[in-house]
C-alpha cells in the first residue's frame, strides 16, 4: 500500500513529506521578517488569507542561503493545529511511496542532518529523505532554538 508524498529539493538533495501533512504549495515572493523570532524563521507570509510563519529550510539545515527564484516554494504543512510553511528550493513532484520501503537513515545522514531526517527510501536511482517535520519547524519557544 503506497502513500502519496510531496517531494521537495533543498541544496540538491530530495526530501519528502506525507501529502496528508501538506496543505498546499505556494510560490514565494518574500516574507515579512519578524524581529526576535528564531533565526531559522524567514518571516510571515499570507497564504489564502492566513498569516503563517515560514521556516527557511536552508537556514535550518545550516546551508548557505540561495537567491530565491521562480522555483522557490513554500510547502505549507499542517502540524496539529499549527500551520507552518517550509521554504524550499523547489517542489514540483508527488510520489507514491510504500511506507515499508523507508529505512532508518545511515549514521552519516543522521549526523549531517542534525536529526531532521527520520528515514530514507530508495526510489529507483534516487534517494529521498523523509523529514521530521515537527522537528524542522521547531516546536520550541522562540528563543529555545538551537539550545536543545
Amino acid at each position: 500500500m503506497s502513500v502519496l508524498h510531496v517531494v521537495f529539493k533543498v541544496d540538491g538533495a530530495e526530501y519528502v513529506l506525507p501529502a496528508s501533512d501538506v496543505l498546499q504549495m505556494e510560490s514565494f515572493s518574500g516574507a515579512t521578517p519578524v524581529p526576535g523570532a528564531p533565526a531559522h524563521v524567514a518571516g510571515l507570509v499570507q497564504v489564502r488569507g492566513r498569516v503563517i510563519p515560514v521556516v527557511d529550510a536552508r537556514r535550518r539545515f545550516g546551508l548557505p542561503a540561495l537567491e530565491r527564484s521562480l522555483d522557490t516554494r513554500v510547502v505549507v504543512g499542517q502540524l496539529g493545529t499549527r500551520t507552518v510553511g517550509l521554504l524550499v528550493d523547489s517542489a514540483r513532484e508527488v510520489l507514491k511511496l510504500d511506507p515499508a520501503k523507508f529505512q532508518p537513515p545511515p549514521p552519516l545522514v543522521v549526523e549531517g542532518s542534525r536529526g531532521f531526517v527520520k528515514a530514507v527510501a530508495q526510489v529507483g536511482p534516487r534517494l529521498v529523505m523523509l523529514i521530521d517535520f515537527p522537528r524542522v519547524i521547531g516546536e520550541e519557544a522562540p528563543d529555545g532554538d538551537g539550545k536543545r
Binding site: P33, V34, A37, I52
Partner: protein, 679 residues
C-alpha cells in the same frame, strides 16, 4: 442660532433611532405584503408599521427634516386607512410604501454624511396620497379598535394608564389642561425654550407629559410641544408661563370636546394596553461601539499594569521576601482580567439573524427586477458574531445572495423545462462552531457554475477542481456578465467577497457546484476580530503599523539637534518642548538596520510613554493613519514581545503591528529583556 446647534447634537441619536424604526418598518411591510399576496389582512403589522412611521415623523419634525416629515406623513395617512379596513392593505399599495421607505432611508444617509436631506422625489407624495383614496376600504370589516389608533396617535404610545389617571383625576380644583408651546429662534433668544416652559409649568401644577407633535404650527413653525398637565392655575397664567403667543392653552375634558390641532386627540383618548411599553423595557440597551472599545482599552491598561506588578513581585521574591500570598492574588487577578475581557467581547456580539434582516428585502427587490421566482430561506438560529465582523460580512453575503438570484437561478420557464420547481431557492445557513469560528453557507438550486464556460471566458484551461474554479472566479475584475451569464452565470464581484472573507477577516471561502443542480459557497469567519486605528510608517525599507492610542506624539527629528552621549549605543537625546527625550533607532531595535542606517538620524519620531518616561522611536517615514484588522500571531515561532500581530494593508503581504511599549522594554540594553522573551 442656538437652536440649530442643539439639533446637531441630537442628530446622531436621531439617526440611530430612525434607522431602527426603518428596519422595523421594512420588516412589517414585508409581513404585510406576504399577507396581502394571500389576500389576508395583517392588522398587527399594519399597526406596527403605522407606529414606526408616526414616530419617524415626530422625530424628524424635532430635528426639522422636512422631506422625511412629509413622506412619513403621507405613508402614515394611507396606513391609517388600511388600519381602518381591519389591517387590509391592497398588494398594489406595497410598492409605493416601499418606495417611501427607501426615500426616507436615502435622506437618512444624506444626513449621516453631513449633507442636507434632498427634497421629496417628484410624484412620490402624490402616489402615496393616492393610496389613501384608492384603497378599497371595506367598512364592514373595520373594527372598533381601528379608530383608537387615529385618536391616540400622538399621545397613546407615550401615555401610560397611570399618566392618564394622573391627568384626569386631579385633586381639588385641578383640571386637565393642554398647553401648546411652539418653539422658535426668537423665543429661544428670550430664554423661552421647551425646557424653561416645562419648568415653569411644572411649578404651576402636575406636569404629566410632554409630547412633541409634528406639523405646521401657528407662527410658521413645524413643531408643537403639547404639554399635558393637571393644574388649578388660570389659562392666562399658563399662557404667560408658556411664553405668551403663539402658545395656546386649552382645557381637556373627559367628554368629547372641540379641540383641534395637528395630530392630537379630539377626545379623551381611550387607551388600550400598549404592547409598545413592554418593548421599551425589554432589557435591551443600545450602546455605541466606541464605548465598548473604550472599556476594552481601559482593560488593556489594567493588563499592562498587572504585568508591572508581576515583575515587581518577581523582584521581591528574588530578594527573599515572602510573596506566596501576593502571587496567589496575582494569579486570581489574571483570571479575573481574562474573564472581564471575555465579558466585554461578548457585549460586542450581535445576532447574525439581526444582521441579515435586510436580506429578504434585497431578495424581494431582485424578484421584481429579474422577474424570477425566488424563495429565501434563512437558517441562522442564534449564532452570534462580533459587530465588526458582522458589519464586514454583510456586504459579502449581500453579494453572494445577489449573485445567486441574478445569475445562478434560472427563469421559471427554464426551471420547469429542467424538471425543477419554478420557484428557485436560496438558502443561507449559519452556525457557530466551538473553536471561535462561524460557518456560513449560501446555497442555491440554480444552474451551477459551468467550469468550461468560465475557463473560456478567462482564456485559461478548464480548472480541475472547485478550488481552482473559485480561484478563477475570484480573479479581480473577472466577470461572467453578458455572453457567459446564461451558461455560467457567476463570478461578478467574487474578488470582493474573497477580499472580505479571506484577506480582511482571515477566514476561508470554498465553492461547491454541480451543473444543473446548484452552487454552495462555504464561508468560515472568526467570531471576533480586533480593529485598531493605526499609524502606518516605514522603517528600514519595511512598513509597520502601531496603534494610534499608544503613541503620544509624532515629532520631526532634526539631525542637528540630536545629542549623542558617548558610549550610548545608538541611543540619543532629542529636545521636545524644552524637555529632553530619549531617541531610539527603531531599525536598530528591530535588528534590521544596516550599519549606516544606524548612524543616520531617522527623520521622524513616534513618542511613546514607557514606564512613565517618554521615548521617541526614530523611523524613516510616516505613511498615514488607517483602521486595520489586527491578526494575532498564534504560532510560538513568531510570538515575540513587541509584535502585537500582523495586518494586511492591501498588498497581500503581512505587515507587522508593533507594540512599541513592549518592544522598547524587551529590547532595552540590559533591561532584563532576556527573561521577558523567555516567558
Amino acid at each position: 442660532m442656538t437652536a440649530s446647534v442643539d439639533l446637531a447634537d441630537f442628530l446622531p441619536a436621531y439617526l440611530a433611532e430612525v434607522e431602527e424604526l426603518l428596519d422595523s418598518a421594512h420588516r412589517q411591510l414585508m409581513a404585510v405584503e406576504a399577507s396581502a399576496r394571500r389576500g389576508a389582512a395583517h392588522p398587527k403589522s399594519v399597526r406596527e408599521l403605522f407606529r414606526a412611521l408616526h414616530t419617524i415623523k415626530g422625530l424628524s419634525a424635532m430635528v426639522d427634516v422636512e422631506p422625511i416629515v412629509s413622506i412619513s406623513h403621507w405613508m402614515e395617512t394611507s396606513l391609517r386607512q388600511a388600519d381602518q379596513a381591519g389591517g387590509r392593505l391592497p398588494e398594489s399599495s406595497v410598492e409605493p410604501l416601499m418606495e417611501g421607505l427607501r426615500a426616507v432611508e436615502q435622506r437618512m444617509r444624506q444626513l449621516a454624511a453631513g449633507k442636507d436631506a434632498s427634497p421629496v422625489p417628484p410624484g412620490l407624495l402624490e402616489r402615496l396620497e393616492a393610496l389613501g383614496v384608492s384603497s378599497p376600504v371595506v367598512a364592514s370589516t373595520a373594527r372598533p379598535s381601528a379608530l383608537l389608533l387615529d385618536e391616540t396617535l400622538a399621545l397613546a404610545p407615550r401615555l401610560t394608564p397611570t399618566e392618564r389617571e394622573q391627568l384626569t383625576s386631579g385633586a381639588g380644583h385641578r383640571r386637565p389642561v393642554r398647553v401648546d408651546f411652539i418653539p422658535g429662534a426668537e423665543r429661544a433668544a428670550r430664554g423661552i425654550t421647551i425646557n424653561s416652559v416645562r419648568e415653569r409649568l411644572a411649578a404651576l401644577g402636575e406636569l404629566v407629559k410632554v409630547v412633541p407633535v409634528a406639523g405646521p404650527a401657528p407662527g410658521g413653525g413645524s413643531l408643537t410641544f403639547v404639554l399635558l398637565l393637571s393644574t388649578d392655575a388660570s389659562d392666562a397664567v399658563l399662557k404667560e408661563a408658556a411664553g405668551g403667543e403663539p402658545a395656546q392653552v386649552r382645557a381637556l375634558s373627559t367628554a368629547p370636546s372641540a379641540v383641534d390641532g395637528p395630530s392630537v386627540p379630539e377626545r379623551e383618548p381611550e387607551l388600550e394596553e400598549e404592547p409598545e411599553e413592554g418593548r421599551r423595557s425589554s432589557g435591551t440597551l443600545r450602546v455605541e461601539v466606541s464605548r465598548l472599545d473604550e472599556a476594552l482599552e481601559r482593560l488593556a491598561a489594567l493588563v499592562v499594569n498587572r504585568s508591572r506588578l508581576q515583575r515587581a513581585v518577581v523582584d521581591l521574591t528574588a530578594v527573599g521576601a515572602p510573596t506566596r500570598e501576593l502571587r496567589a492574588i496575582l494569579q486570581e487577578n489574571g483570571r479575573q482580567l481574562r474573564d472581564m475581557r471575555a465579558a466585554i467581547l461578548r457585549l460586542r456580539m450581535v445576532r447574525v439573524g439581526d444582521v441579515l434582516e435586510r436580506l429578504p428585502l434585497l431578495v424581494r427587490g431582485l424578484r421584481r427586477t429579474t422577474g424570477k421566482a425566488v424563495r429565501l430561506e434563512l437558517e441562522v438560529g442564534d449564532a452570534e458574531l462580533d459587530k465588526a465582523v458582522a458589519d464586514r460580512m454583510l456586504p459579502a453575503l449581500v453579494h453572494l445572495v445577489r449573485n445567486a438570484v441574478d445569475h445562478a437561478l434560472e427563469s421559471p420557464e427554464e426551471r420547469r423545462a429542467a424538471g425543477k420547481p419554478p420557484e428557485g431557492r436560496v438558502r443561507l445557513g449559519c452556525h457557530a462552531n466551538s473553536s471561535g469560528w462561524v460557518d456560513i453557507t449560501v446555497a442555491d438550486d440554480g444552474r451551477g457554475v459551468d467550469a468550461g464556460a468560465v475557463a473560456r471566458r478567462a482564456g485559461v484551461p478548464v480548472p480541475r477542481g472547485p478550488d481552482d474554479l473559485l480561484e478563477l472566479l475570484c480573479r479581480p475584475g473577472f466577470s461572467t456578465r453578458e455572453e457567459v451569464t446564461s451558461t455560467s452565470g457567476r463570478g461578478m464581484g467574487m474578488d470582493i467577497v474573497r477580499r472580505i472573507v479571506v484577506d480582511q477577516l482571515g477566514g476561508e471561502l470554498r465553492l461547491e457546484t454541480r451543473v444543473g443542480e446548484g452552487t454552495t459557497f462555504h464561508l468560515r469567519v472568526p467570531l471576533t476580530i480586533t480593529l485598531l486605528d493605526a499609524i502606518i510608517f516605514e522603517c528600514a525599507g519595511l512598513r509597520y503599523a502601531v496603534a494610534v492610542g499608544s503613541v503620544e506624539e509624532l515629532i520631526e527629528v532634526e539631525a542637528a539637534r540630536v545629542v549623542r552621549p558617548a558610549g550610548a549605543h545608538g541611543v540619543a537625546l532629542v529636545e521636545r518642548r524644552g524637555q529632553s527625550v530619549t531617541l531610539v533607532s527603531l531599525a536598530r531595535l528591530l535588528g534590521s538596520a544596516s550599519a549606516q542606517a544606524v548612524d543616520a538620524t531617522p527623520p521622524r519620531g513616534l513618542v511613546v510613554r514607557q514606564r512613565g518616561e517618554l521615548v521617541a522611536f526614530g523611523v524613516d517615514r510616516l505613511l498615514g493613519q488607517q483602521e486595520i484588522v489586527l491578526r494575532p500571531l498564534e504560532d510560538p515561532l513568531v510570538r515575540v514581545p513587541g509584535v502585537a500581530g500582523a495586518t494586511d494593508l492591501g498588498d497581500g503581504q503581512p505587515t507587522l503591528v508593533l507594540d512599541l511599549n513592549a518592544l522598547g522594554a524587551a529590547r532595552r540594553p540590559g533591561s532584563g529583556g532576556r527573561e521577558e522573551r523567555a516567558t
